[in-house]
Symmetry: C2
Amino acid sequence: MEQKDISQAVIRRMPRYYRFLGELLDEGVERISSNDLSNRMQVTASQIRQDLNNFGGFGQQGYGYNVQFLYDEIGKILGLNEKHNIIVIGAGNLGQALANYVKFEKLGFVITALFDVNPELKGKKIRGIEIHMLDELDEYCKDNPVDIAALTMPKAEADLTAQRLVGLGIKAFWNFAHVDLNISDQDVVVENVHLSESLMQLSYNIVKNKNS
Amino acid sequence: MEQKDISQAVIRRMPRYYRFLGELLDEGVERISSNDLSNRMQVTASQIRQDLNNFGGFGQQGYGYNVQFLYDEIGKILGLNEKHNIIVIGAGNLGQALANYVKFEKLGFVITALFDVNPELKGKKIRGIEIHMLDELDEYCKDNPVDIAALTMPKAEADLTAQRLVGLGIKAFWNFAHVDLNISDQDVVVENVHLSESLMQLSYNIVKNKNS
């Protein structure tokens, strides 16, 4: 399918469509009108039509949306029809928590290795996934396909490690370190998960609610 | 300070200002021009001025911004001058990872208790923070101040637990469960961290880059 330049705001809403459609499939729903989908997702039917029109529509007048078809198409748009191998740099609590999530695998995101500098973790396995030492990173990346690097190490080391990984051909970062990665390569994509920033967002809204 | 109705987009950028200003303070920088801040943050100087003007400005012509003052003011805007007690519902890997983060405490977010249904975890402590059983939740919330509930349990239980917590007077949720919380109370604020959605966002951009 040809993809126009679609705004990141639209893209950010796609995983939520995917989630709701998955729930509908689980419930055995085969088709749904944009109004029913609208009620369920608490967004306007016109927003839904607009969003999906970015990808060519999918709806049929008087029929609504075929749930399985729409689910599969959005899955393809999101790249979920491909397997993505992830390595996790930093095998502390967060790194281990990520490795323990089975749900990512169902979406095609497979964590294949963890890396750390702590020699006590060497060779340990999390749900069968081995923790390697960071000095084995170059060799590992040469011998194994790696699509995404998840960075869960302290911010002081994150940027340098990211540069090193870019040098090893890694094109995508899932960055939990609380720092902006300085990557000039236009082919590299970064998705930040800044937990403390989301807490700040929350406390802003708490304070605002108290004052209103 | 009087706060106008400021768009969430502006608010979403504030934690990043706060982080950069904190780094400047660590480096001993006392004042900075909006141009220098702009270069450092990779956003336009005009965006910076516009963003900060929402809160009354802070800059002085020909002087720039006083880093400490701006840092403190943004901290206040974000509610970081108050302590926020957090309970974590779900003491699995992610819940324990959150409890182990010392950095949240430096920002005033203090995790005071974890809750789980697994009897094997009862009484266990993570960095000194006790894991309680979920049936002790009501009593705990009556006896202790709780500002935020972090939900790290499976999605099937998240919504019901959130309703229960709203009944106990909790006004803010940090939701890691992959589900929309159905909370009709307008005073309740929710901040979602949907890890699998951020992975989908990443894979969308990977696929898009490959095709471009």
